[in-house]
Symmetry: C2
Subunit: 422 residues, 2 copies
C-alpha cells in the first residue's frame, strides 16, 4: 500500500465521521451544545499544564527551525492565553443559538404558511496557521452553529492544537455529543490539505485563516466553496470639512492601534482642499507614533522623514507600522482610488459633510464602509456578533465578519392544509 493511499483513507474517515456527527449536531439542543462548550472550557483549565507542555514542544521545534519572532510570538501559549481561550468558549456558549431561528415568515393567498428558518451548514473545513487558539475559537463557533468541523492547523502548532482538541472532544463527550463533531487532521503531511480541499462529498465550506500564500493555495486548489479573506487594503479618506481633532484621532487609531490586524488602515487619502489644514498634523502624528510614511510629492513636502511612495505601495497590505498617503481631488477621485487599489474589505471617510458621507457609503463597494470612525472596528466582536471566525471579502453568503449566524444556512418550512398547485 502506498503512503498516499493511507492518507486518502484516513482523510475519508475524517470526512465520514464529520458527516455523521453533523447529522447528530443538526438535531442537538442548544443546552447540549452549550454544555459541551462549557465542559471544554473546564477541560482547558484543568488540563492547562498538559497544554503548556505540548506548546513548549512546539516552541522548541520552532526555535530549532529559527521561526521569526512574530511567528514565535503567535505560537507561544501561557497561563493567561489558555485562560483567554477558555473564556472564549464560555462567551460562545452564552451567545444565542442561531439554529432554528425564524428569519422570515409569511402566508400566501392560497393559505400556505412559509417560514425561512436557520439550519446548520453541515461540515466546515478550517485551514489555519500558527496561532493555536484558532483550534478552540473556530471549532467552538462551528459547534455553536450546529456544524461539525475538520481543522487543519499549521505544522508548527501541531502538538498544542492536539492538546486543545483533546479538551474540546472531552467537552463533547461529557455533553453526550459525538466527539467527532470536531476533529483535527492528525498529521502534518502537507498532502493532507490537498485532499481536504477536494472532499466535496464531506465538506460544505472551507474557511482558510492565514497569510497570503495559504489563501492563494486554498483558492487555487479548492473544489469546495470558500469563505475567503483576501487582503485588507483599507483606506481612510479625510475631507476638508472633517473636524481636525477627530480626523487626527481616527487616523492614528486606524493605522497604529494594532498594525497587524486586517482592519488596519494601509492608505490615507487626503483631499487636496484639506492639504493646508489637515495634511501636516495627520502626517506628523503618524511619524511621531513611529509610523513610516510613504507619500506622493505633496506629502513629502510636509516632512523630510516622508519617503516617496512607489506605485506598488497603493496596492500593498503592510500589516506593519507603514502607511501610504496621497492627495486626491475630491470624493470621486478618492472612490476611484479605492476601487482601483483597495480590496473591498473596510474603508472609511472622515468628513463634516453629510452628503459626502452618504455618497461614500453608497458608492464604495466594500464589506464595511464607515463614516467618522476607525477602520479597526472591522471585527465581529465590535459589531456585536459575539465572536467571529474571520472577515469575508467575498460577496456570496458571508460578507464582512463571519460569526455564528454566517455559519448557518436556512431552509423553507411550508405548512399547508391540502393545497395542490393549479
Amino acid at each position: 500500500m502506498r503512503d498516499d493511499n493511507g492518507l486518502n483513507a484516513m482523510m475519508t474517515g475524517l470526512g465520514r465521521n464529520a458527516r455523521a456527527a453533523a447529522k447528530v449536531l443538526a438535531a442537538a439542543s442548544s443546552e447540549a451544545k452549550n454544555a459541551a462548550l462549557s465542559a471544554a472550557a473546564s477541560a482547558l483549565r484543568t488540563r492547562r499544564d498538559e497544554i503548556l507542555s505540548a506548546n513548549r514542544r512546539d516552541v522548541a521545534e520552532a526555535e530549532q527551525r529559527s521561526l521569526s519572532g512574530a511567528l514565535l510570538d503567535r505560537l507561544v501559549l501561557n497561563e493567561a492565553r489558555v485562560e483567554s481561550m477558555a473564556r472564549g468558549l464560555d462567551e460562545i456558549a452564552a451567545l444565542p443559538d442561531p439554529v432554528g431561528q425564524e428569519i422570515a415568515r409569511w402566508s400566501r393567498p392560497n393559505g400556505l404558511d412559509i417560514a425561512r428558518v436557520r439550519v446548520p451548514l453541515g461540515v466546515i473545513g478550517i485551514i489555519y496557521e500558527s496561532r493555536p487558539n484558532v483550534t478552540s475559537d473556530a471549532g467552538a463557533l462551528c459547534l455553536k452553529a450546529g456544524n461539525a468541523a475538520i481543522l487543519r492547523g499549521g505544522s508548527e502548532s501541531f502538538h498544542s492544537a492536539r492538546a486543545i482538541m483533546d479538551c474540546l472532544q472531552e467537552g463533547l463527550r461529557r455533553a453526550g455529543l459525538p466527539a467527532e463533531s470536531l476533529q483535527l487532521v492528525p498529521t502534518t503531511d502537507r498532502a493532507a490539505v490537498g485532499i481536504l480541499l477536494k472532499m466535496t462529498e464531506f465538506i460544505d465550506v472551507i474557511v482558510p485563516r492565514g497569510g497570503r500564500s495559504l489563501i492563494e493555495r486554498v483558492t487555487e486548489e479548492s473544489r469546495i466553496p470558500l469563505f475567503q479573506h483576501l487582503d485588507g487594503i483599507n483606506h481612510t479618506y479625510v475631507q476638508a470639512s472633517a473636524d481636525l481633532a477627530m480626523a487626527r484621532e481616527i487616523v492614528l487609531n486606524a493605522k497604529m492601534r494594532r498594525t497587524g490586524v486586517c482592519g488596519a488602515t494601509e492608505t490615507l487619502l487626503i483631499d487636496r482642499a484639506a492639504a493646508d489644514s489637515h495634511m501636516a498634523p495627520l502626517v506628523r502624528d503618524l511619524l511621531e507614533a513611529g509610523c513610516e510614511v510613504r507619500g506622493d510629492g505633496a506629502v513629502q513636502a510636509v516632512d523630510r522623514r516622508v519617503c516617496a511612495a512607489a506605485e506598488e505601495d497603493w496596492a500593498t497590505e503592510y500589516l506593519d507600522a507603514i502607511i501610504s498617503v496621497r492627495l486626491v481631488d475630491g470624493l470621486d477621485d478618492a472612490i476611484d482610488h479605492i476601487e482601483r487599489f483597495g480590496s473591498h474589505h473596510t474603508d472609511a471617510i472622515v468628513t463634516g459633510d453629510p452628503a459626502s458621507a452618504e455618497a461614500f457609503l453608497a458608492r464604495v463597494d466594500s464589506a464595511i464602509v464607515l463614516v467618522n470612525a476607525s477602520t479597526q472596528f472591522a471585527d465581529g466582536g465590535e459589531f456585536g456578533m459575539g465572536a467571529e471566525i474571520g472577515i469575508s471579502t467575498g460577496k456570496l453568503h458571508a460578507r464582512g465578519p463571519v460569526g455564528v449566524e454566517q455559519l448557518t444556512s436556512f431552509k423553507y418550512l411550508v405548512r399547508g392544509a391540502g393545497q395542490v398547485r393549479p
Copy 2:
C-alpha cells in the same frame, strides 16, 4: 494569431464591459432599471416578427440535426410565447427593488450605528440550454437586482437568443443604461464556456440552467462560485393519519401536474401502517392518470400494472410520468430513505399528526420541506418572490428559489461620530 487567442480576447472584452456596466448599474435608480425592463418588453412586442424569424432559423437547423421532440418544443417560439416573455419583463419591472433595502440596523454601546444593506452581487454568468426565453427572464432578473450578466445560451437557440438580446439592449439604451449590462456570448464555440468558467476577475457567480450533463461540466470546470441546481429527487411521504382524499389529491398533483419540473415528486413513500387504507387508492390514481409505477413487492401486489423497482429507481429523477413507490416503517425510516436517496431539494409529508409534521419539518435536510401540500409548489413565483432564476440545491448564499433578493449581496454601513477602537 491562433483562433483560441481571438476567443480569449473576445471573452475578456465581454468581462471588462460587464464589470464596467456593473459599476454603473450598482448606482442606477430603480426608475432607470424599470424603464429599461419596460422598454425591452416593448421592443420584444415591436420586433416580434424579427424574433420569430430568427427562431425559425434555429428550428430549421435543429430539425436538420434531428433534435428530439421535447427539445424542439422547448426551442420553438410563437406569438404567445413572445408575449409571455414581454409580460415577464413587465412583471419583473413591477417587483420591489432589492438594492438599498436595509436588512438590519442596530446601535452599539459606543454609539456606532450599523446597517446591513443589500447591494448587487456584481456580474453574473448564466449558462443555459435550449429555451430561448431564459435570455429575457434570467437577464431581466439580474438587471433588476443591479447586476450585469453575461449569458451563454445553447447553440440550438443562438439566433433566437440574439434577437431577444437585441431587444434587451435596446431597452437598456433607451433608459440611458449601458447596453453592455446584458451581453450574449456571440459564438457557439464550446470553448467559450470553458473560458467563461475561469473568468474569476470578471464574474462573481455562475448560474447554470440545464440538464445533468451541463451541470456536471460546469461544476467540474468552474473556478467561480455557482448557484447549483442538482437533481430534484423529491419525495412525498404519506402517513396512516393522513386524510385519504387529501393524500390522493396531493400525490396526484405532486407527480402528474407537470412531470418535467424540478419540483415534481419522484418517489412516494407510504407508511406500512397505511398500506391497507391508503396504498391501493394512491397507486391506482397514478396508474389511471397514465403514470408508470415502479414499486417494491407490497406495492406490486396492489395492481399487476406495477413493475418492480430496481435499486437505482430510488436515486432517479425521472422528469417523466414514472414514479417509484415504497412502503416504509414509520417516520424514521422515511427520513432515512430521503437522506440516503434524496437530493435535498423538496420533500413533503402528508399526515394528520402534528407531531410527525413538525418532526419531518425539523429533520429533513432539504431546501423546501412541506406539510400537507404538493411538492410542485417549489417555485419562486408560488413562494411570492415574483420570479426566479432557478432553484438552488446548494446551502451557501441561496437555497431554494433564487429570486431578485438572492441575486444580491450586502454591505455594512457604519455611521460614527469620531469613535476609535480602544
